[in-house]
Amino acid sequence: MTLRAELTVTRRSGFRLELDLPIAPGQVVALLGPNGAGKTTALRTLAGLLPVTEGSISLDDQVWDRPPSVFVAPEDRPVGVVFQDYLLFNHLSAVENVAFGLRARGTPRHEARERARTWLDTVGLREHHDTRPRRLSGGQAQRVALARALATDPGLLLLDEPLAALDASTRMSVRAELGRHLAAYPGHTLLVTHDPLDAMVLADTLVIIEGGRIVQQGPPALVARQPRTDYVAHLVGLNLYRGSAEGTVVTLDSGTLTVAEPVTGPVHVAFPPAAVSLHPEPPHGSPRNSWPVTVAGIEQHAHTVRVRLDGAPPVLADVTPATVADLHLAPGLRLCATVKATEITTYPS
């Protein structure tokens, strides 16, 4: 049941997108890239709103699009899309918008509305069930769009910057909710985002495109460890772990971390490589996390150096070239890594 997209799309403006993208069931692929890279174009092609020029899209042995003869209409593909500009139906209330996909697929009216209401509650719009989209604020509208796409339980979720208009705290909670949903979700997901945190937290695989071409792809940890370009390095600079929390202590697969915000249960923890300090000796002071590491690799980027460190847990650190000289950084060197608890973001996974 793998979704395979090996395609080329040419637009009248001369823009050309080449994509080779397999998505396994249950997998979440994050599509990242600068403005105009072709992210939305890719989504539209998978949704069936734009036929491919060459190549094909298929889900398992079912071909969705292969010129010159095969084309499955969008309504016959089990997709759910959050559009970058939402495209909510202005003449329907929030509940009716969310219920639309269910109704279209034959769910009885009452049940469809019931489920739509639940979804709206999930994204924090309990008070706006019967509001028309024009009367919603930007962030509220975006959440309706997200609920609408999720409500039909589609086999392929296509999310185009689904959290961009949300304020910081709503974003946190909706992201967590979305993460929970995606973790239990058997379908395929393609997530477009400009926020590396969204990408790293929600996705199993990152695909970075620039100018219509894939420049790098792979699991977040791997991409972060070995970014091919400065752009990628800048974009995916994040140490990300799964673990199990008990108060402010998170037990990882190897090692533990102390965080500021007490939580319980399985969590994600993340902090940027820049947040990691390296010391020859364990320092005394505010950082709550301090553990021995060994330099495994060093890579120079624009103005910073990314240091791969083995340890429990293994970690990436961004330092200045001056630090490299100062500490005589070289593979094999033993050091102490420190990270402040307040630098670590946690969210339930």
Binding site: G48, L49, P74, L87, F100, G101
Partner: protein, 269 residues
Amino acid sequence: MTGRARAARRGRLPVVLAVPALIGLAFLIVPLAGLLVRAPWTSLGEQLFSEAVGQALLLSVVCASLATLVCLVLGVPLAWLLARANLPGRGVLRALVTVPLVLPPVVGGVALLLVLGRRGIIGEHLDAWFGISLPFTTAGVVIAEAFVAMPFLVISVEGALRGADPRFEEAAATLGASRWYTFRRVTLPSIAPGLVAGTVLCWARALGEFGATITFAGNFPGKTTTMPLAVYLALETDPGAAIVLSIVLLLLSVVVLVSLRDRWISTPS
């Protein structure tokens, strides 16, 4: 000055628009006023309450409404076909659909007779196989009116469809909505103002239809004599009465339009 009045000031009119608008309004309304002024009001009462007039009025409204219904059922899908489907030669089709507008209605009636009359290309078979004869029946009136009025509906709904943003239909498709479901639940509501305008044009045109009706359906009181036919006959005998009858028809349509449109149309906020 209330909040409403302040909002109205926001909507104050630029002269360059208001002046032609008012001239246009005058151009349409002053002749009606002229009719009202010159109408022989003394004979109004008896004209108005005669049984024949009542019959004709009722028949007019019923036939025009039925014809509008026919036009909606056939014309809205046709408009959709012209606006959305990728047909070859769509431009020519669209022009052909416009053509009954240009046809003098009497010739339209003749054309209908040629096709649906008892000796007509199709009517012959209708008569032979099913014993159905459309001319000179109330059904014939509905058909004649629909034939003349449908292009108005089709063209204006097509214009509205063209103006509507097709991305909402795309969004509906990604939600699994079939074309038909999308059409009902997304397309139609989003062109509501254009649809209402087209329906009004269609109904009004059907209500005022004369040439095709008298040619195709004849002029049988109680069966096919609608108000415009009654007006025509009155012109033969008593022009004053014709004007009064026309005014009755006008009043009726104003009443219907005012009462219906304000229910259907709510200005988008």
